[in-house]
């Protein structure tokens, strides 16, 4: 192994106080009992790990345990596949639900093919349009004479005196 060359250069001589200090620190003795304390810490960590460790016969690294785990996985996968296969019926006709054709309400809006439509109150009903007869056609109405007002007979003599005079043809 090659060691660091300590060539006697100007920079090396100038930086010697720094290296002297660093060497001094690098040579400082370790505190007494360091090894024991480190060993105790390792033992504590190791013991903590053993509490949660697998039992020796069930260690994951043992070959038979690995084989058993692999067999269990294969069994579960194959069993699951078989279960799915047996539950699926082959050549089963597709179940088609026939929906009743929706008829739009008379005078209302259509459902636009909606599967569900909310129940609404019955809408307002428009009155039936009056059927126009040929007798009451506008052409005929124009030519028709105005109906003569038929004087109603006075009932019980309660008609007014001016009305009576008019009926008698007297000048007003």
């Amino acid at each position: 192994m090659t060691s660091i060359p300590h060539e006697p250069s100007a920079s090396a001589s100038a930086s010697s106080p720094a290296e002297e200090t660093l060497r001094l620190i690098a040579k400082l003795p370790a505190p007494t009992g360091l090894e024991e304390r480190v060993q105790t810490a390792i033992d504590a960590v190791s013991r903590r790990g053993r509490v949660l460790a697998w039992p020796r016969t069930l260690r994951p690294e043992s070959s038979w345990m690995r084989s058993a785990a692999a067999a269990a996985i294969v069994f579960v996968v194959a069993g699951g596949g078989w279960g799915v296969y047996t539950h699926v019926e082959q050549n089963q006709p597709a179940k088609v639900i026939v929906m009743p054709a929706r008829m739009p309400a008379i005078g209302g809006f259509g459902g636009a093919g909606a599967i569900r439509t909310p129940q609404t109150l019955p809408g307002p009903k428009a009155p039936q349009a009056v059927k126009v007869n040929s007798e009451t056609s506008p052409a005929r109405l124009k030519t028709a004479k105005k109906p003569v007002a038929i004087a109603k007979p006075a009932s019980g003599g309660t008609s007014r005196p001016d009305n009576a005079a008019a009926e008698a043809g007297a000048p007003k």
């Binding site: 060691s3 100007a10 720094a18 200090t21 660093l22 003795p29 370790a30 505190p31 960590v45 038979w64």
Partner: protein
Amino acid sequence: MSTSQAIVAGWMESPTSAVNDEARRRAEDDALAAMVDQYASALYRVAYSVLRNQADAEDAVQEAFVRVLRHRDSLGEVRDQRVWLIRIVWNIVLDRKRRAKTRPETDDVAELARVLPSTGLSAEELATAAQHHAHVLGCVDQLPAKERQVLMLSAFEELSSVEIASVLGISESSVRSRLFRARNLMADLLDHERSLR
């Protein structure tokens, strides 16, 4: 051999493999204990040179060995355990240093006065020496990270440039050039500080 035969064979040989596991585990524990005895001090010095705090350095060493414990199955694949361990602790201390940046700087002078060897030095001399070293360390902290790391690792006489390169994950020529730059920068910084006084 069919699968069922293999499973039965596994059942049959399980007591033997359990004994083997136990023996292997004990051997790994022994190897780890030997590593702690051999390298804990060196790792502590590496950690202390960066963290400059006794408790933090000790924590870093413990964390490094706990990491080793987690990967003890692959201990046999490690070529140079010493460099490997130094690399682990180096990464830990750099990470801690980065996280501790938000905390106030540790009082280097007081800490150095406490840990420096005081044989043959009066209290006044010890305080002056601690102040000087703290000042030098302040200059080291001003160096760029790459140069500073190489300079600090070069202070460990047990680490060659090849090993420093291995710890930092760079080439040996990079180590040399960075060390050269670090020395020049340190000389400039110290000259500048001297001229200011």
